[in-house]
Symmetry: C2
Subunit: 209 residues, 2 copies
């Protein structure tokens, strides 16, 4: 249990969190929240996974909810970053949409523990923190809608209902975090490629080379 750390690729994850003890606690919290959910996770469990006493948690975080908020905030920042840089990138709308979906899905599969917490534990946040996060999510929605609108305007896409399709595309990508399994047959790259292809079909783009 908790054997395989979620190190994907070369770079150290959660490098922005310091000091070291705070980062260890946060990583432990991500694992615990992803496995059992926020409410089923105890502060003792988190501290235990990080090799500390329960009280140590409260040196670095005011409450258990603050831990969730930090995870949620960093995760949403990363997710939004991925979508925005695809939306602002060069290339045809089809290329940009394909890029967006591929990298967004790859992140959700590769960091599926983090993504699961980020995407499915929103209701556990306090009212203020939740509205802050919801604003970030609206920006993600806007980024995808932007690409789809560009494609429609350019005549490359055939989309009867842009907001509905935007919602469906994001929904499809997000749900990867729920079902993705490291022990499964598919790698994050493969899922990303498959999903990019599916989404291009959904918007009626001409098949890519």
């Amino acid at each position: 249990m908790g054997a395989a750390k979620e190190t994907l690729g070369e770079e150290q994850p959660w490098a922005e969190v310091s000091p070291d003890a705070a980062r260890r606690l946060l990583i432990a919290a991500v694992e615990a929240f992803a496995e059992r959910g926020y409410h089923a996770t105890t502060t003792r469990d988190i501290a235990g996974r990080a090799g500390m006493s329960p009280a140590a948690l409260y040196i670095h975080y005011k409450t258990k909810e603050e831990l969730l908020h930090r995870i949620s905030r960093l995760g949403h920042d990363k997710a939004l970053d991925i979508l925005r840089s695809a939306a602002d990138g060069e290339g045809t709308p089809a290329e940009r949409l394909s890029d967006a979906v591929r990298s967004f899905v790859r992140w959700h599969a590769g960091h599926h523990m983090t993504a699961r917490v980020v995407q499915y534990e929103l209701d556990a946040l306090g009212a203020e923190h939740r509205t802050e996060i919801v604003a970030l999510r609206r920006q993600s929605d806007a980024a995808v809608r932007e690409i789809i609108n560009d494609g429609v305007r350019a005549g490359d896409f055939d989309v009867p209902d842009v907001p509905g399709t935007t919602l469906a595309v994001l929904s499809l990508c997000i749900d990867v975090a729920r079902w993705f399994n490291v022990a499964g047959r598919r790698t994050p790259d493969e899922v990303g490629a498959t999903y990019a292809d599916l989404v291009l079909r959904m918007v009626g783009a001409a098949p890519q080379k």
Copy 2:
């Protein structure tokens, strides 16, 4: 809070649960689990919504987990029923897939509280109950894969990766339960129609009339 009951259409929901007090408790549990999640819901909350004392719950159900299991079981039975009757129906593969998605999505939107519990509180079940439910889910997967395979065999669909696309189609439909909002602009029927169209595009079927 809890003002609008989840009565959609004419028939009485949860008619198969009796006696009446047990049904009221179950409906209260569905609402509470859907709003706050299983672990954040207390037995006192459930009993209170049903207008009873906390102890009354244990006359009709052995544990809180048994309540969740009953909900999950009935919900999965219904969902599987919908998919199977579409898979076994008449018509071309495209028509059957469209039917399956439309009715499956309509159920997820129309009964989004139940669906949310059914689809997202699986981990809260005990080990035995969970494996029972997982078996039902595999049957749902098989029903959809069957239709897609038929379409590929008939040359009506163009699907490079059948298991992957099956997974994506189900994932797309299931996630409706997460985002669907009664206060939103779309009706369950509209979402069902939109999604049926999107899925036909995903499998490369010729556009329907």
